[in-house]
Amino acid sequence: MPPPILDVRNLHKNFGAVTAASNINVSFTAGETVGIIGANGAGKTTFVNMITGYLKPTRGAILYRSREITGLPPRSIARLGICRSFQVSQVFVSLSVLENLLTAVAIASSPGLGMLRPLRRPELIERAERIMERYRIAAFRDQLASELSQGARKLLDIAMAVAGGPKILLLDEPTSGISTEEKQPLMDVVMEALKQDELTILFVEHDMEIVERYVDRVLAFYQGEVICDAPPAEALRDPKVQEFVIGGEYQAGGGHA
């Protein structure tokens, strides 16, 4: 078995009396696609936040390629290749969609003094445009991000996370707010990128169809604990998962049935 790319050991997080993470021990191998599910308030975002350096765990350690990254600031973690999208989209509202992506691409490709090179370089623009195509936001190329609808903003948010060429990608509810027609195409795109680049993807998801279809492995959270860590077929039939996350039996094909 290959060594884990990301290793989470004994992670705890308390907010006052609330325990948002309790004794989490998981590790991920390169190229894995992991779906994180759980009830609202179960601690999914907190888990993502700790890995990406936004929150400092109360206890425990996070190792990336055997190197401890616990407590590093987000930018260092991002530079290591751990990128993320957000539950509430974080985009540059007064820049156009193109400029949003250009910024993301440029930062990733210009370390140090490279930051002094012009932003609007043809090679960067080309890359940004490719990403826009892929994430179906090319139509909004010159629109300001503040003018985008919630869903389009979400797409942009994800595109920016991917733009940096990550090794590990964490997506917090990537498909929420995206209309059904767009959900699967979007995930297809993301997954395709993954397969090419040997990316590890962790994504928080409430839509079990998406989970079932795209992930290799499911982590289910409940009250800060991992209650299930198994392949999707198994996890979605787990009684605890059914009780606390799905709220009943899981029926393939979703609520339509």
Binding site: T45, N49, Y54, F86, Q87, V88, Q90
Partner: protein, 298 residues
């Protein structure tokens, strides 16, 4: 021991003064997110109006205590008139603009109002000493103190308690939080936001004017009266955490007492005290002592 008492009293008097002049500023900032430079004009106009009316009353043979009534009347009058003119005439068109532009708009209004004073009241100073004279002095800690100055402490306390009660103990305060956080949402929840803004701004203006009007009897009211108060009250408000009433109180106390200590013990450092306290607080607590809660972003 006596010196300690004197320092404490001096500190309290000066703190009260600071608190009274900063309260309106912090309330307006707290609710409307406007750093209101015209606060200095309200202050000056309050002082001028009070001094002018007290002078008139004295000439008309009114009793000296009428001065107290006039002070409050002047504050209400100035707050109402200037507050409405400014809010309706200028600020209401600016709420969607950048915070900093609003500051500058109030700065522009301040410059205009400052010269209007010159045109209306002339350059000669006004004196309205009657109320201070009436109250005389008392001996405390071995030295005479003017009673009027001590009433400042009372006024500050009353204002502090009242505003705290209104903001913390009534639903008003919580509704204000809603407006502060998000205008559109507050409106959707049924709140008449423009009325809230008008009322807040007028109350803030009245408090500013009251500061000036209440100080007027102790000073020579001359042009430029409102200029220094701006920086002073900004400093207090920043130390306390902008928009926080208890913050303004603690900020005023900190500055007032440290300053009294400096004046008595190391007068050569007096000038730095306010900014030193401000810089120190900000270095350790970037948003002031009582920072407002931020929304969770991620």
């Amino acid at each position: 021991m006596e010196t300690a008492l004197t320092i404490l009293l001096d500190g309290l008097v000066f703190s009260s003064y600071l608190f009274i002049v900063s309260l309106g500023l912090t309330i307006i900032f707290g609710v409307m997110k406007i750093l209101n430079v015209t606060h200095g004009s309200f202050y000056a106009w309050g002082a001028y109006t009070a001094a002018f009316l007290i002078g008139l009353a004295a000439n008309a043979g009114w009793p000296d205590w009428a001065g107290f009534a006039i002070i409050f009347f002047a504050a209400i009058l100035v707050g109402l008139v200037l507050g409405l003119i400014l809010e309706r005439g200028i600020l209401q068109f600016m709420y969607h603009r950048d915070e900093v532009l609003i500051v500058l708009a109030t700065f522009g209004s301040f410059l205009v109002l400052e010269d209007t004073i010159l045109l209306v009241f002339g350059v000669d100073p006004y004196f309205a000493f009657q109320p201070m004279q009436l109250l005389g002095s008392v001996e405390l800690g071995g030295i005479a103190r003017d009673t009027y100055g001590l009433t400042l402490i009372g006024l500050a306390a009353v204002l502090a308690v009242t505003s705290w009660l209104v903001l913390r103990r009534t639903h008003w305060g919580k509704l204000l939080s809603a407006v502060i956080f998000d205008r559109e949402l507050a409106m959707a929840m049924g709140l008449n936001v423009s009325r809230v803004y008008i009322v807040t701004f007028v109350i803030g203006a009245m408090l500013g004017a009251l500061g000036g009007a209440y100080i007027a009897p102790t000073v020579s009211v001359a042009p430029g009266f409102g200029v220094d108060v701006i920086v002073l009250s900004f400093a207090v408000v920043v130390i306390g955490g902008m928009g926080s009433v208890p913050g303004a109180m603690i900020g005023a106390l900190a500055v007032g007492i440290v300053r009294a200590l400096a004046v008595h013990k190391f007068p050569q450092f007096e000038l730095f005290v306010i900014y030193a306290v401000m810089a120190t607080v900000l270095v350790f607590r970037p948003e002031g002592l009582f920072a407002p809660v931020k929304a969770r972003k991620i």
